[in-house]
Symmetry: C2
Subunit: 189 residues, 2 copies
Amino acid sequence: MQKLKQKIIEEGRVIGTTILKVDSFLNHQIDPQFTLEMGRDLASRFTGEGITKVLTVEASGIAVALSTGLALGVPVVFAKKGRASTQNSKVYTSEIFSFTRQESVGIYVSGRFLGPGDTVLIVDDFLAHGEALRGMVEIVRQAGCRLAGVGIAIEKEFQGGGKKLRDQGIRIESLAAIRSMSEENIEFL
Amino acid sequence: MQKLKQKIIEEGRVIGTTILKVDSFLNHQIDPQFTLEMGRDLASRFTGEGITKVLTVEASGIAVALSTGLALGVPVVFAKKGRASTQNSKVYTSEIFSFTRQESVGIYVSGRFLGPGDTVLIVDDFLAHGEALRGMVEIVRQAGCRLAGVGIAIEKEFQGGGKKLRDQGIRIESLAAIRSMSEENIEFL
């Protein structure tokens, strides 16, 4: 998506060689109209897949996921972080490692919102090491859903998360994939 | 908003007399089209106020805030939870108490996204004790913004948070305000 690449170049701030801050339009401040466009673009790549649910994880994936769900006309489920509180009902859980925070965090989805009848599109703002996605894929499998694929706003391809998931046969669509970056330059795939 | 009240009655689950679970369309699973309608309704109540930013706090406020920002044509800023990481730039912070989790949590907004030139509409999914709102109002004041008011999807009026803020002269608009509730009955204002 040309417009996203342009915004990354104009507004993104690279710290070292692995951290890309795009908090002016995606991670802290959100540009609503542009977020809608990203959602529309992601949705268009999965037309005809019979998607019934979009799945993301709180918090910064929610805006892009909502926009994608809106374009597809399906509900959006966001996995919650932490431990599921005392519940009587079924819960799907996974554990993911946050490289940013250097700690493991549990994520969970209520069994009421995903099930064997669902075809799921996972959406997230970033793909780096792929930990959040691995956790969501695990939840989709626990729930017995069909996984249509993964839609990502920004993939940092050089961190390898995308390769790990594609090697499992998972289809991943990224609106902007970064091959390498430094404080001086960002190179897209 | 009649449709929201209807959805609360049909899909909401009251636990005890203070907890209302609306996770089928607002807190865990999101109905994108309906969220857009809520945002449009909130925005319409603040037309002519010259709003330049919508402010919310992660995570479940993001969807309604995004929809409101979209309708107003302004950016949405979501306060982050936790401590601001090592930053060179200015940060506005507050401390709020979560009655659900029974613990204090810090929230912060980067100084790059709010300033004296801004007129802010605070948006959140729930208003109960008003702790999250109090924290966001504090951040708006630290940033020197004008506060246009507060837009809320569901206000649990009996928990008193709305009264505390209105007593300070803050305008609050709620799409559905609950006077009292039990497992058998929900009474709206």
